[in-house]
């Protein structure tokens, strides 16, 4: 991607409007372009100034009471499916993270080790998925749909199991990118948390170590004989439990 086409993508990227593939391409350009990185940093500085120093006016209590008084009592419970609401919730606040947090790992590890770069790709993939309309390309709670979907898309289809009985339900799967490799991702849900399990080939793991970024955690386990990276914002005990559940799967 050359700089003039990248410039058109800069603001949409910063605002979380690019799809996964376009984000990847743009990030690759960023690795090599100090001008675009500088422009992105300036946009970020402006955004942070606006969000920190500008007052965000809250509605006066009197207005709130007035509208409440003029609203008839709600009748029934909301009918929107909980999964849709959760995705909308995840998308709406995660967009801020994609633009803000994803800037950081992009070039901080330039020339750094493979493990750092892999971690960067994994976090970026997770954040993009949170900001996207859907974190999965194949939706299913039935592993018999998800596993065959991977065939033909990746060299080796991952071990797919639903752990709903243990509190981690299978949402579906997608393909994401780590380094230059296409990688199967299994997506699980635990309460309000989205969990990505990136199933890697042996040579993609490198010096990948457990790490944390902006409240998101990366853990490395083995799934069906292959190394797998788990990215989520669960707390320590939930992460440990999920890692054990995965490790025991066969």
């Amino acid at each position: 991607m050359d700089c003039s086409s990248a410039r058109d993508l800069l603001a949409p990227y910063f605002d979380g409007e690019l799809d996964r593939a376009a984000s990847r391409e743009f990030e690759a350009h960023l690795d090599d372009c100090a001008d675009c990185r500088a422009a992105l940093i300036e946009l970020d500085a402006l955004r942070r100034t606006l969000r920190t120093d500008l007052p965000r006016y809250a509605a006066p209590q009197a207005l709130r009471e007035r509208i409440r008084a003029e609203t008839p009592k709600p009748v029934a419970a909301r009918s929107r499916p909980s999964r849709q609401r959760w995705l909308a919730l995840a998308a709406s606040w995660a967009i801020a993270f994609v633009a803000g947090a994803a800037l950081v790992p992009l070039w901080s590890s330039h020339g750094g080790n493979v493990g750092e770069q892999t971690a960067r790709d994994l976090f970026a993939g997770h954040w993009r998925a949170l900001a996207a309309t859907s974190p999965v390309d194949v939706v299913s709670t039935d592993r018999h749909t998800v596993k065959p979907w991977f065939a033909g898309k990746v060299a080796q289809a991952p071990l797919v199991q639903d752990f709903a009985d243990r509190g981690f339900s299978l949402v579906g799967g997608r393909i994401d990118y780590v380094g230059s490799a296409r990688v199967p991702v299994l997506v699980y849900r635990h309460g309000q948390h989205l969990i990505d399990v990136f199933v890697l080939a042996q040579n993609e793991v490198g010096m990948l170590a457990a790490t944390e970024r902006q409240g998101y955690w990366l853990d490395v386990v083995t799934l069906g004989g292959l190394p797998a990276a788990i990215v989520s914002d669960m707390d320590a005990s939930e992460r440990t439990r999920f890692a054990q559940v995965l490790a025991a799967a066969n």
């Binding site: 100034t49 120093d53 500008l54 007052p55 809250a58 509605a59 509208i67 609203t71 008839p72 950081v104």
Partner: protein
């Protein structure tokens, strides 16, 4: 139409701060913003059955914005600018005074700095033409997507993107180089 009114009321309450914040930035003072939001609620409740689905928050904020624009044209152009500048000046001074009255020396310096920065950024944003100001508020503060902003402004996405770009460029130019913020990065 009481079922529709219940839904609209619920929607309005859920996004009341967003509505009020938008109104405040368009109209420049508390009373007008509050009245405009209430106008919007009444109008929304009346037209609830015309809501065709799609993004409810954008539908609501579009109505809020239209009510604000109606007030602006009733008010007249010259008055609009005066009202904003006056209030901003008063608030900047009041905020600084209030902060000076509390806390010990070290605290006061930090907080006065924040009050100064707040007044400074507010002044620059108020000086932006309205179409840039509202687009920036919707994107940066209310965090609406391009599609949602287009729905609120009732304009094409291309217009949203170009207003955002020009608004950002104008604001960056008028603010000058920004102080690097203390940011908790993974660096």
């Amino acid at each position: 139409m009481s079922a529709a009114q219940a839904l609209v009321g619920d929607l309005a309450l859920r996004h009341l701060d967003a509505a009020y914040n938008l109104g405040r930035w368009l109209l420049g003072n508390e009373q007008d913003a509050a009245d405009a939001v209430h106008d919007a609620f009444v109008r929304a409740a009346r037209s609830a059955d015309t809501y065709a689905g799609g993004n409810a928050r954008a539908w609501w904020l579009a109505i809020v914005r239209n009510c604000c624009l109606a007030r602006l044209s009733a008010r007249g152009t010259e008055q609009r600018h005066v009202a904003i500048d006056q209030v901003a000046a008063e608030q900047g001074r009041d905020a600084a005074d209030a902060l000076l009255a509390q806390g010990d020396a070290g605290d006061v310096e930090d907080r006065l700095d924040h009050a100064q920065r707040s007044a400074w950024i507010r002044r620059h944003l108020e000086n932006l033409p309205m179409e840039f100001r509202e687009t920036l508020i919707l994107r940066e503060i209310e965090e609406l997507s391009y599609r949602e902003i287009a729905d609120v402004l009732q304009a094409p996405i291309g217009t949203v993107m170009s207003r955002l770009a020009r608004g950002r460029a104008l604001l960056q130019k008028s603010l000058g180089p920004l102080r690097p913020n203390e940011v908790k990065h993974g660096l």
